[in-house]
Amino acid sequence: MARQRAYGIADRIGAASLNGVPTISRVNCESGVCEGGVPVIPAAFSYHRPKSVQEAVALLAELGENGRALAGGHSLIPMMKLRLASPGNLVDLAGIDELKGVRVDGNDIVIGAMTTQHELIVSNLLADKIPLIRETSLQIADPQVRYLGTVGGNVANGDPGNDMPAVMLCLGASYSVTGKSGERRIAAREFYQGAYLTALETGEVLTTVHIPAPAAGHGWAYEKLKRKVGDYATAAAAVMLTMKGGRVENCSIGLTNVADTPLWAQEAAKILTGSALDVVTIKKAVAAAEVITSPASDARGPAQYRTKMAGVMLARALEHAKSRTGG
């Protein structure tokens, strides 16, 4: 239930930038929640900074619903400031070195959950192996947010507005999560269940993102329509593509912020496979992608418009990805 409630919350935060709602946080400050002359906005909590995943997991198990893991904090802290989230304990994962960095493990690229968007952008390994990640990170929020915002937070939070989840569906990624009873691996395509509702259980920490290395010469694109810098997508599409003899050999498509969860547009990809990406086939695929969307009507536009924009983003992403194949 708490998670369901959180959805409305995020919407209000999103609306804040448009409607000038930030007065909400001022009300809290004026309501006298001040101590020692220092204004404080979030509700009081205890702060923990474990040094290892094991320690973090033990803490979270002990705290149960009263504990929240803190990654970059750029979703959670704004919610806490608005008193829309008030965990009694924050377990900061920033002190855990094993959660940082990008490495190769066999056929997988493995990204630590606490790797920041900025670190993804400057990673030569990712730029070389999975340029789709860099292209996406560059379109998330703004520089200051990217210095702190993490890939783990982005994929684990379950916010349908986040960009990385659809990209992970597109890439066929999986997540390693660790809980009190040990470690398990969850496919990104099975992770998202609803807005802020994921396969992550209370007390579990998402530790690493595993991405099968894409084929050499693949094409990629993340096309995102947003009203302004820092905004969530009105609609966005991620495409990975390989071509052989002028025809699509493999294709995978992810869609952002046009449903309660990120979407993996399987049917659209199936339609495109084997085609030469001609106009007629692209139209068919776009229609198949639009049909699975169910966006909300909100400040970013009416639902119908956002569905159409998902189609437009997909068509652009296909064209862009195609132009990058074979390199």
């Binding site: 220092v38 509700a43 900074r49 704004p78 400031k81 924050l90 920033a94 929020a141 820092g230």
Partner: protein
């Protein structure tokens, strides 16, 4: 709620303090350290007026708790000027190019530009605009802010500043 002991470096000086975990870094800087250069604009992670440099990153100090900055090395606008008290090239740029009107966003703009120029010594206009996208100027004085940063880049690189034709 128990207070936490934090130790950090602010503008080159070591600081030890007791903070409530819920104290945001911006409030700690302004209210406990009396560093009122970083401004509180929107309080919602949008405007960038509260930007400070933390361990080589530009961060919005309204969206991080002081306790998270334990052990960090922070630079605020108060620590940007040269050691001899003369203006930093970026500050000089803002003065020379009229990079401020009301001045409210200026501390955040300058601290952000400081990190941007550390990472990219000779940014194009497009790179500057992309790099300061997390800082809002409600006077909409972006044109001259961009020029101010170009001026600073030129000065730091020891080359004459040439204003682009409009």
């Amino acid at each position: 709620m128990a207070r936490s002991q934090i130790e950090l470096k602010v503008n080159g000086k070591s600081v030890e303090a007791l903070v409530e975990p819920r104290t945001l870094l911006i409030h700690f800087l302004r209210e406990q350290l009396n560093l009122t250069g970083p401004h509180i604009g929107c309080e919602t992670s949008h405007c960038g007026a509260c930007t400070v440099d933390l361990d080589g990153k530009s961060v919005k100090s309204c969206t991080i708790f002081a306790v998270q900055a334990d052990g960090a090395d922070i630079r605020t606008i108060e620590g940007i000027a040269n050691a001899d008290g003369t203006l930093h090239a970026i500050q000089e740029g803002f003065r020379e190019m009229h990079g401020l009107q009301c001045g409210f966003c200026t501390p955040g703009m300058i601290t952000r530009a400081y990190r941007l120029l550390q990472e990219n010594k000779n940014p194009s206009e497009e790179e500057i605009r992309f790099g300061i996208a997390g800082n809002l100027c409600r006077c909409t004085g972006y044109q001259n802010i961009v020029k101010a940063i170009q001026f600073a880049a030129a000065k730091l690189n020891g080359v004459p500043f040439q204003e682009a034709a409009e």
